[in-house]
Amino acid sequence: MEETNKNIDNTDLSIKVADNITVKSSVAIDSGSATDTYQIDNADTEIDYVKELVQVKEKQRIFEEKLGFLTKKQNTTDSFFMDEIESLKQEVLTSKINLNKSKIDEIQILLQENIKTLTEIGELEDNWNQYGASKFEPELILKCIRFISEVDLDYQPEIFPSARQSVQIEFEPDENHYLEFEIFIDRIKLYKRIETTKTFLENITESDAIAEIKKFRKEFTSNRFGISI
């Protein structure tokens, strides 16, 4: 997660807490009122971001309360006030770092769980589904682990075995958005549905698949842009 936008002055706080979330807070010194704007640029699951935003909102509220208190008690040119603002700025920035770290930890946990699932799939014996399915080639399992461990893939899928020695990976952030790859040793097949629009691709490369995931996230996000909490 990289920080691409931060701008703090006495009354406004605009901060990008992750690749996909910007929080803007402002406190009107005259009235003492505070407003927040939350902008989600890119959401993989709504629940995750609601949780994240609740945490951010708590930090922001502390900022606003302290700032509101100080504006009533202190002259804006007072050095004590400016020191306190700087201290608050550091506090909020620290919270941002913690939030980003928790997001990264979460992705790592999901990745580890998926690697464990793939390992279990790799250990299945012939007739594992009780209907005659064959076991999986180690090369396929390694290919799948490599795929989900891609540096650029910060969006972990769900993973399932199939009865034709392929592994299916799925992204389904909601009922209207579905992306599925069926990974074989020698090819990758794609099926995507955005609401009622369906796309089928029979043979794509790993890099094409990663690009499709990014495109899918963008399509999913565009339908949700501007969500406010």
Binding site: T117, E120, I121, L124, W128, N129, Q130, Y131, G132, A133, E158, F160, P161, S162, A163, R164, S166, Q168, E170, E172, E175, Y178, E180, E182, K189, Y191, R193, K198, F200
Partner: protein
């Protein structure tokens, strides 16, 4: 195998019938968020094997899976619902079961297409764990 009095082997599937299937590795196929299995369970180049109810009550169907040592979760799909998503269920009695049936993509294709698999996963009902 205990048969229903009214059942005739190879009789056409009727819309009100249910088709049952054991999902051995149930946990690995289950999508917790949506409380349904992944569409991956329907991938089978030889057609998706199921056991029709054939006018038996559900307990009798469950007995069949228990007696034949199936393990895991038991799921079911309604024949009429399968037809609504343009899948093609058909009776295919086997050496082991007069009630054996299959779900195909169409009359001419056994492997179910991706979008039909997705639809099938959404109409799948969980019966319970086979003990």
């Amino acid at each position: 195998m205990q048969k229903s009095k009214n059942f005739e082997k190879n009789s056409p599937l009727i819309d009100s019938e249910y088709l049952y299937r054991a999902v051995f590795y149930g946990k690995i196929f289950w999508k917790k968020r949506y409380s349904r299995p992944s569409s991956a369970i329907f991938i089978d180049p030889n057609g998706f094997s199921v056991e029709r109810d054939g006018d038996r009550n559900e307990d009798k169907v469950i007995d069949y899976f228990v007696v034949n040592n199936y393990r895991g979760y038991l799921i079911k799909l309604n024949v009429g619902s399968c037809r609504q998503v343009n899948a093609y269920p058909l009776p295919k009695p086997s050496r082991n079961s007069d009630y054996h049936s299959e779900i195909h993509d169409s009359e001419n294709q056994m492997l179910i297409s991706d979008d039909k698999r997705e639809e099938l996963s959404k109409i799948t009902e969980e019966v319970g764990h086979i003990k």
